[in-house]
């Protein structure tokens, strides 16, 4: 009885909470059975009512409009809701004519007719930025929204101190249109209900924690949009704490919800178009919402993953976006691919079960393990074989090359399985070192002993070895002097092994060290990813993407009352005076400026010095390639005594072990005309420089 009373009350609230919709059509009485929200599919043999057609596309709007809903099935009744719940044959307003949409509205509609199965529910979000910036200015729940989010800290609304700043108001509105938006729509109980809401129970993991919701993509440029029903969970480790009012999400596409895959170029035209899942991440460490940290620039993680991809490796792609939950602005987020088996199948070919994927269970989210390498797909057998071989020592070339499925001379042996992709390991670690990453792939917050925050993928047929993925790179770009080269006391067991430990083991091998030098030459030198101008331009490109959007983030999350405020340096302005008020764009610009002034211009040179001190780089410069009118004309070297060797057949002038490649020519005067493709090294005594390659 009590439940029925509650449901009646709920219906009253539902009817009253149809914000932004001028038309009012009373909904019929509701029964407990129909209020369960299940869309009756009935007999699969029975035809479905034709789906509801919306007269307007979803998206962002600046003026009210009339919305018409139609179904091609004659005599069908269309019902719709605006509170996120699913319309059913008995729940929702009966559509009786055009609906005037005057403000931000999430509208779900389905068509019903006796004797036929109901149509699929269609969901459209209509977002009005002018309306969004006025949401809950006093921080109270929007009408119809819950007072509490279970045990989670509650935070609603847009801060009028930010919204009404005349200096930035227009830009804030433009910022809401500057990035694409995602809109999650669901019955509020699935999101915020104390017992079953994903947001109210942020620590819950696994399939049982997943709730069905609608996801829409609202493009910034009026381009292609999409809507798909999906499963939603909270993602993250430390950031799952209920103190955190702004959680990140993991989205799953399953047959259970409708489409088994999302088919849309979420990461742009050159990315893949088919997804089993992806993440909607948001800054957590060094954020305004969780940490109350004025060092938030919101690009650290994305930028590090960009660097890995720019080096020519597979990496988790991502793009910035805004997010709305049932029409309420939820802040700045970014999409992120998950480097798991489906990612591997998409990017490397084959089926999902053809891959092993390992990552670290940090222990923040399970009771069973703490900072242990686990398999998310396949198993850890190959990882264990890699560990066992590396633990025996890699000083000898036979052992070192065997890890790569190679003969002792470095040539590929098709009969051996590859366990490690050495170039990928080196480049991955260069991103780690350059960023001064404190939390991956081993954590400074766990003794520098335990692994954390990496993914590794390997095909089970061993055609290539484990490849690593930058993940959760938030603890980066901090101290320009940071040295993460170690060596650290880590990898004492296979469960605590990591790419950092593999780097340390490999560093015992002279061929590996020269390979490091080759990769540093390629990526730190002229035209390389970490060349100061290139890395600065890449960083600036990301910051420019969100420069206006951070105003909206400031309005939404710049004033969270309870934050995890630990270890944060004083918040000071350019004159060294304390800054008060909501965290905002001024803080963002100060931190971006600090990085542009103190970190980016010097970091590449500093890390090169750290690598040199670790014995990873030779003390012999590589030949300089001299071009004239874009054509390679000669090689030169500052040491007159250095001999320069080159090849034009793609082989290395130096053989494994240090001998001169018989195919190499010693430079004696000008380069031959076939030097359009060229590999060259300098040699002095027994020492070889790093390799330079053209093109």
């Amino acid at each position: 009885m009590f439940r029925i009373v509650r449901l009646c009350l709920l219906l009253i609230v539902t009817i009253q909470s149809h914000r932004g919709v001028a038309a009012e059509t009373p909904a019929p009485a509701v029964t407990a059975k129909s209020a369960a929200g299940k869309s009756a599919k009935g007999n699969p043999e029975t035809p479905e009512v034709a789906e509801v057609k919306f007269s307007r596309k979803r998206g962002l709007f600046g003026a009210p409009f009339e919305l018409t809903l139609t179904s091609k099935t004659a005599g069908a009744t269309i019902r719709y809701t605006t509170d996120g719940s699913k319309p059913t044959a008995n729940l929702g307003k009966v559509y009786s004519g055009p609906i005037r949409i005057t403000g931000t509205t999430v509208l779900r509609a389905a068509a019903f007719k006796d004797g036929l199965n109901s149509s699929r529910i269609k969901t459209h979000s209509f977002v009005f930025p002018e309306d969004v910036v006025q949401q809950s200015p006093d921080g109270l729940p929007p009408e119809g929204f819950p007072f509490a989010w279970g045990k989670n800290q509650v935070d609603y609304g847009m801060d009028p101190r930010v919204v009404n700043d005349p200096a930035t108001r227009a830009e804030l509105l433009a910022g809401l249109r500057a990035l694409p938006s995602f809109s999650l729509v669901t019955d509020l109980d699935s999101m915020f209900g104390a017992a079953r809401g994903v947001y109210s129970n942020p620590g819950e993991q696994g399939r049982e924690s997943e709730r069905e919701m609608s996801l829409e993509y609202l493009p910034a440029d009026g381009g292609e949009d999409f809507q798909i029903d999906c499963g939603v969970r909270i993602r993250g480790g430390f950031s799952r704490m209920p103190l955190n009012p702004k959680h990140a999400f993991r989205i799953f596409f399953r047959d259970d919800y409708g489409e088994g895959k999302l088919k849309f170029p979420v990461f742009g035209p050159e990315g893949v178009r088919s997804f089993d899942s992806f993440d909607l991440r948001t800054a957590q460490n060094y954020s305004w919402s969780l940490a109350g940290d004025h060092r938030g620039v919101f690009v650290r993680d994305q930028f590090n993953r960009d660097l890995q991809r720019a080096m020519g490796h597979p990496a988790a792609r991502g793009e910035f976006c805004h997010l709305y939950l049932n029409g309420q602005y939820w802040g700045l987020f970014n999409t992120c691919e998950r480097p798991e088996a489906s990612y591997a199948a998409t990017h490397f070919g084959g089926k999902k079960d053809a891959y092993d994927v390992v990552k670290v269970d940090s222990g923040f989210t399970t009771r069973e393990s703490t900072y242990q390498v686990i398999a998310t797909d396949g198993d850890t057998a190959a990882w264990t074989r890699l560990y066992d071989r590396a633990a025996k020592g890699l000083r000898d070339n036979a052992d070192y090359f065997a890890l790569q499925g190679c003969n002792p001379d470095g040539s590929r042996d098709p009969g051996r399985e590859a366990l490690l992709d050495v170039d990928n390991l080196i480049d991955y670690m260069l991103v780690i070192f350059w960023g001064g990453n404190l939390d991956a792939p081993i954590s400074a917050f766990a003794d520098n002993r335990n692994p954390n925050n990496f993914h590794a993928i390997r095909p089970r047929d061993g055609r290539f070895g484990f490849r690593f993925f930058v993940w959760d790179a938030e603890h980066t770009l901090l101290d320009p002097g940071e040295n993460r080269l170690g060596p650290f006391k880590t990898g004492e067991t296979v469960g605590t092994s990591s790419p950092q430990w593999l780097w340390q083991q490999c560093l015992e091998n002279a061929e590996f060290r020269l390979r490091v030098a080759d990769r540093v030459q390629r990526h730190f030198g002229a035209g390389g990813v970490f060349e100061t101008k290139a890395v600065t331009d890449r960083f600036l490109a990301r910051t420019r993407q969100i420069e206006s959007a951070v105003l909206a983030e400031s309005a939404r999350w710049g004033d969270v009352p309870h934050s995890f405020r630990m270890g944060i340096p004083p918040r000071l302005d350019e004159q060294g005076q304390p800054v008060t008020g909501p965290l905002g764009r001024g803080d963002w610009r100060r931190e971006v400026s600090r990085l542009l002034r103190d970190y980016l211009p010097v970091r590449t040179d500093i890390v090169r010095g750290q690598l040199f001190a670790a014995g990873a780089l030779p003390d012999l410069e590589a030949p300089e390639v001299v071009r004239e009118a874009g054509r390679v004309v000669r090689l030169r070297h500052p040491l007159a005594a250095a001999e320069l060797y080159f090849t034009t057949d793609g082989s290395d002038p130096r053989q494994v072990g240090g001998k001169i490649n018989p195919a190499a020519r010693k430079l004696d005067g000008a380069l031959p005309p076939d030097a359009a493709t060229l590999k060259a090294r300098a040699r002095l005594g027994e020492d070889w420089s790093a390799l330079v390659s053209v093109p």
């Binding site: 609230v13 942020p202 620590g203 222990g363 009771r367 520098n448 002993r449 650290f488 010095g609 027994e686």
Partner: protein
């Protein structure tokens, strides 16, 4: 279904340690340029004084520096009193199992002492009383270390951040947990009255 464990005791202890300057992690290095660093290393390892480090000299440099850095252990130092009490393996470091023993033992005593209402957690006032005793010097040494950690540990305290939303629930006249127009109006009226 897996369940959230906000943070292991060791995580809490290390996270707090990590944020104390000079306690954890690599000692901060000044931002030294490549040329500066090479010049310093040449002074130390250029055995034949030819102005460059050949392969042999660099290998000696690598092994010497590797040993030096490895000998720095986990990168933080704990008071001898701490290690004497909980470093069961006597290896000079706190292993995960040792952290757990230390956390369990020390926080049990603190909880018994300061959990005035005996609800099994330290509330805001109880934490304040504990930290006041640290300030007065009534708690020192290892217990003071854990009192600090315990005060920061939010996994076993009443969530202060819920006070605001709990207060609003008093206005939830229909008990549905959601804000109706009438309830919001009453909250705003109440706020205006208090102002």
């Amino acid at each position: 279904m897996n369940h959230y464990r906000p943070c292991s005791p060791r995580c809490v202890a290390l996270a707090v340690l990590a944020l104390l300057p000079g306690v954890i992690g690599e000692a901060a290095e000044p931002p030294v340029s490549f040329d500066q660093r090479r010049a310093e290393l040449l002074k130390e390892f250029d055995a034949n004084h030819d102005g460059r480090l050949d392969d042999g000299e660099r290998e000696k440099m690598r092994l010497t520096r590797q040993q030096a850095r490895r000998s720095r252990g986990a990168g933080y130092t704990l008071p001898a009193e701490f290690l004497a009490k909980y470093d069961a393996s006597k290896d000079g470091e706190m292993q995960p199992a040792e952290w757990k023993v230390a956390w369990d033992a020390e926080t049990k005593i603190l909880l018994e002492t300061y959990d005035a209402d005996k609800d099994g957690i330290l509330g805001k006032a109880e934490k304040a009383a504990m930290l006041a005793d640290v300030g007065k010097g009534k708690i020192t040494g290892v217990p003071a270390f854990f009192a600090g950690r315990m005060a920061q540990d939010q996994s076993k305290s009443e969530p202060e951040y819920l006070e605001a939303s709990q207060a609003l629930l008093k206005f939830d006249a229909d008990g549905d947990g959601r804000a109706s127009a009438e309830e919001l109006a009453r909250i705003r009226a109440s706020r205006a009255e208090k102002r």
